[in-house]
């Protein structure tokens, strides 16, 4: 057995340890990027383009420069030339071209944030404006197939003969579903404190991966990786938007160059979060299902359309979940993109699975209805024996157990199969179900160092991130068990490029990847020094490879259930209850895990009912670009969320037996809510979000199930 293999014996693992950083956070002593003590900082405020496409013909900075306290005004004319401009999103201020409205065209550095902001408002920019095209429509004739989609997945797949299977199917569903453009809005906006000293750059950055920032930023400024220091001990949420660097950190580093030795503080305003920090593309998904009368799928076809920016490609992997979810001999999936004059889309919690499983799981509900089957039963009937795409066995797959337990918890037996049959005090009440899935990614590239100290204490160092999710606690639990010592004897150090490299907190892979490296390091230390290592003894371990990933399909699964109440007269939708049951391997810390899953489901509820960035095509920008107008679920929208998981022992995934839980909570929630809304009202909403106007009025008027029977 190598050091990466063999299970860690759980002692601290599996216990609901309170957050080790909880006290520091509650008392305010945990410092986020913007709050790092950096002497006498100066402040940066960005200037943004007010056209969606064109060239800057003039940029008048005189009035801005005259504002008391202003130290520098940055434009494309005086900005430092970057050494590498291949990533057009990061090639900030390198030309006079404007590729989307809201793009950075300048910045003001001043001694106060107020002066910087005021001066930024005085920069006058004139443009040679070109026609722009900023609205995704599926009927465009210029859609193209990317080389691959996010995650490195194939753009298109086809197995069997889908058209023939659909033509001969006893029951088919043929519908188009849309998901709205959504914007990540972590509580902490994107913030950077940048300072240059002796040609080296230090960044206090709100990020999901300090080493990711280092590796992306260093070449821009012609630096070696070890000349860029990134510090990020606490992060107030990321949801993917801080997974890869966007333009703000580059602007801050450039601005800091103009004031060497002084730290530049930069935080996006909330409205700016809608322009330069990534977002979830809207999707249009044409789904066709074919099945026999018993609901057994014979064909699955998903054609997904999404948008990307003209300057940089991002291809949401919307249809990949449909490749492995259910057994069907004939399957095809395609992804097509529209290249638009818009900000660059990026990761937002469960890219691919989240929008994809909305459409697929509503389609499954429509199929259940067409077959006269219970939707839980329909899914059980289509459970595959092996991964339909690769033929590999699943390392573990407990979707059916999740469905059964969830059905028990929500009281599924009380669900009326016929829609619009339950009324309570002026409300139509319904129940709905959807499945959840998220891959277990094996993310190589992390290292950890374990160092023995006095008194049986150990210091564990790795450049991992805690986005508020509980890494400080869960990784310490893993280290303690790998070393076979109590958690109190472990001191964890994370969030700094001074520590060994860590993969990004993305793809729900953080704890599994970093934990594997920590386990490896601990075992090496024990192999070398035994149970009483001398003070200062040290060992380093890596995530390494997992040969089992070649033999097994690895996924976490879940089932989500929703109870929806719709006001008969106003169409107002409320969700008093959500039930989520997950099968995600070994749960490292039930307390922080529960928080993540509740958070994921809450975000899924928010996506279902509220979140929608309205693009004004004339302006080429999101019209509702603040949190007064872009609604996320408020406390009053969130009812009882019952989260649980089933015992699942997966010996193949990693030494802890854990699967990621950061994203699966948002996968399927919106479909469960939409399906419950249909069960309540008889209205099939195929376009998110489910706002009251879509449920007002005559049910079935154009919204009924477009299903065909033979």
């Amino acid at each position: 057995m190598t050091a990466t293999q063999g299970r860690v014996r759980p002692r601290a693992i599996g216990t609901p340890l309170d957050r080790l950083d909880g006290r520091a956070k509650v008392t305010g002593s945990a410092r986020y990027a913007y709050e790092q003590p950096v002497g006498e900082p100066v402040y940066l405020h960005a200037v943004q383009a007010t056209v969606a496409r064109g060239r800057i013909t003039g940029i008048d900075t005189e009035a801005a420069a005259a504002v008391p306290g202003v130290l520098a005004v940055l434009t494309h004319r005086n900005a430092p030339r970057l050494a590498d401009t291949r990533d057009a999103e990061l090639a900030v201020l390198q030309s006079d071209a404007v590729a989307f409205r809201g793009q950075f065209v300048g910045g003001v550095v001043a001694t106060t944030s107020e002066a910087a902001r005021y001066a930024a408002s005085l920069v006058r920019t004139t443009y040679d404006t070109q026609p722009h095209d900023s609205v995704l429509r599926p009927d465009r004739d210029d859609l193209y197939a990317p080389e691959s989609v996010n995650g490195g997945f194939a753009t298109d797949t086809e197995q069997g003969d889908v058209e023939a299977a659909l033509a001969s199917a006893a029951v088919t569903v043929d519908q188009t579903y849309t998901t709205a453009m959504n914007h990540n809005n972590p509580m902490e906006p994107h913030t950077t404190v940048a300072v240059w000293n002796d040609g080296e750059l230090t960044l206090y950055e709100s990020t999901q991966g300090v080493h990711m920032v280092r590796s992306q930023v260093a070449p821009l400024f012609g630096l070696q990786p070890d000349e860029v220091h990134v510090v990020s001990p606490f992060v107030g949420g990321g949801f993917g938007s801080k997974g890869t660097p966007h333009a703000p950190v580059v602007l801050a580093a450039m601005a800091a160059r103009l004031v060497p030795g002084r730290a530049v503080r930069f935080a996006l305003t909330r409205p700016q979060m809608f322009f330069v920090a990534g977002y979830r593309t809207p999707t249009v998904q044409h789904i066709r299902l074919g099945a026999d009368r018993g609901g057994r799928l014979t064909a699955i076809s998903v054609d997904a359309v999404s948008q990307t920016s003209r300057i940089k490609e991002f291809a949401e992997q919307t249809a990949v979940a449909a490749r492995m979810m259910y057994a069907a001999p004939h399957r095809r999936t395609t992804h097509r993109l529209a290249r638009l004059d818009v900000p660059v889309p990026s990761w937002m919690r469960a890219p691919g699975e989240c929008p994809g499983m909305f459409a697929a799981e509503v389609a499954m509900d429509e199929l259940a209805e067409a077959c006269g089957l219970d939707p839980v039963e329909l899914r059980i009937r289509n459970e595959p024996a092996t991964d339909p795409e690769t033929g590999r066995p699943f390392s573990s797959r407990n979707l059916v157990a999740c469905l059964r337990e969830g059905a028990r918890r929500i009281g599924w037996e009380r669900r009326e199969q016929a829609p619009r049959s339950r009324r309570e005090a002026g409300h139509l009440v319904g129940l709905g179900v959807a499945a959840s899935v998220y891959p277990v990614f094996w993310m190589p590239g992390s290292s950890a160092t374990v160092r023995a100290g006095a008194g049986g204490r150990y210091t564990v160092s790795i450049g991992a991130a805690d986005l508020g999710t509980g890494t400080w606690t869960a990784l310490a639990q893993i280290a303690a068990d790998a070393l076979e010592v109590p958690v109190e004897r472990v001191e964890l150090r994370i969030g700094d490029t001074a520590f060994p490299p860590a993969s990004v907190a993305g793809g729900s892979s953080g704890i599994t990847a970093w934990g594997s490296a920590v386990v490896h390091a601990a075992r090496r230390l024990r192999e070398t020094y035994g149970n009483a290592p001398p003070d200062g003894a040290e060992a380093t371990g890596e995530t390494g490879d997992n040969p089992a990933t070649e033999r097994f399909a690895m996924y976490a699964f879940g089932a989500q259930f929703a109870e929806v109440r719709v006001d008969e007269e106003t169409g107002e939708v409320r969700v008093p209850r959500l039930v989520g049951v997950f099968a995600a391997g070994c749960v490292i810390n039930p307390k922080t895990a529960r928080s993540q899953l509740v958070g994921g489901m809450t975000m899924g509820l928010s996506m279902a009912l509220h979140e929608e960035s309205h693009v004004d095509g004339r302006l080429g920008q999101v019209a509702n670009h603040d949190l007064a107008e872009y609604h996320i679920a408020a406390n009053a929208d969130v009812g009882d969320i019952d989260v649980s998981w089933i015992d699942e022992d997966d010996p193949h995934v990693n030494p802890m037996g854990s699967k990621g839980i950061g994203e699966i909570g948002i996968v399927g929630t919106a479909a469960a809510v939409a399906n419950a809304a249909h069960n309540a009202t008889g209205v099939r909403v195929r376009d998110l979000p489910i706002t009251l106007d879509k449920l007002l009025g005559d049910p079935g008027a154009g919204n009924g199930p477009a299903v065909r029977r033979r």
Partner: protein, 330 residues
């Protein structure tokens, strides 16, 4: 934000005088709307005259059973006041349905009345807006207008007034007490807010230097029940898509008196006079309620993306009146 001077007024006369001296000065109340606008560059005054600490923070009984609400009474305090809760439940409910607890703690009565109308384009200084920059055009037309007006709009502006409190006050026939450079006057609330017409930059009839000192609430007969119903895109902390403030007096199954105001449908709290006319003397039945709602909404002119507000307003009004005719008096 643009730098500005800050002055604090010690009494009403001084406040009015300070403003009168300076064309580019504005009053600052709780700041929940103005400070946002300062940050966004929507408001660019040279001077803020802070009136939030003027001695206008009391709720007093008026002879005959009415109440006088001081201009600086906080929304939270007004909503919780026992006399308000007892005599004007519609007002308390309206206040509590607005904003958030934190904002209600800061917001004043006068400031709530004087909120600017809402529109995403008004708030975005990179877009044209007749309200922010008269004559520059209206970006909302043909744009994002889910929250916009279905009644009384003009080609110059389709924004809606966001206040819940003012909708209840409109139904209650409140009277706004104003002190200005030319002395005191009383403005019935129905005349206080304006429809946009061709001067959408004026939300109210107040002139420069006019200071709201109080709002008077006339007494309601004992037999009147009142209620506020707000329909919005999420369960709290959202502006109304449609709201209804209604006070109903039913005697022997017949509507003796009724006052109705609608929110979220117009540039001002919309007093539903046509619906009231239809209802007075009519049987208090579902049919009457529906006819009244339809009479009021016959003139509705939805804009892009808000046609649903017409049936929504109808249904909400009918449901509110129905609820007022059942259950226990409030």
């Amino acid at each position: 934000m643009k730098p500005f001077a800050y002055r604090r007024a010690d009494d009403v006369a001084a406040a009015v005088a300070l403003l009168s001296q300076d064309r580019h000065a504005v009053f600052l109340g709780g700041g929940t709307n103005l400070v946002d606008h300062l940050r966004l560059g929507v408001a660019t005054p040279d001077t803020l005259v802070d009136v939030s600490r003027l001695p206008l923070d009391r709720i007093e009984e008026l002879p005959g059973g009415g109440l006088r609400v001081g201009a600086t009474v906080r929304n939270s305090d007004l909503a919780a006041d026992p006399l308000v809760r007892q005599r004007y439940p519609v007002l308390s409910q309206a206040l509590l349905s607005g904003a958030s607890g934190q904002l209600r703690n800061a917001a004043t009565t006068a400031g709530n009345l004087l909120q600017r109308t809402r529109c995403v384009y008004f708030q975005d200084v990179t877009t044209a807006c007749n309200k922010r920059d008269p004559g520059s055009g209206c970006s909302a037309l043909g744009g994002y207008q889910r929250y916009h007006a279905i009644l009384g709009a003009s080609p110059e502006c389709t924004a809606t007034h966001p206040s819940d409190m003012a909708v209840a006050m409109a139904a209650l026939d409140a009277v706004v007490q104003v002190v200005g450079p030319d002395g005191e006057r009383a403005v019935p609330i129905g005349d206080f807010h304006r429809l946009p017409g061709d001067r959408p930059h004026h939300d109210t009839v107040l002139g420069h230097g006019d200071l709201v000192t109080a709002v008077d609430l006339p007494p309601l007969p004992e037999t009147v029940r009142s209620r506020y119903r707000k329909v919005r895109d999420r369960a709290s902390y959202a502006f109304a898509l449609v709201s209804v403030a209604a006070a109903l007096d039913v005697r022997d199954g017949v509507v003796a008196d009724v006052r109705i105001a609608l929110g979220g449908v117009a540039h001002k709290p919309w007093r539903a006079s046509l619906a009231e006319q239809e209802l007075r003397g009519a049987p208090a039945t579902e049919d009457s309620f529906r006819r009244a709602a339809e009479a009021e909404l016959a003139a509705a002119q939805p804009v892009d993306g808000n046609a649903f507000k017409v049936p929504l307003a109808r249904n909400t009004l009918v449901a509110t009146l129905r609820e007022l005719t059942g259950g226990t008096p409030r």
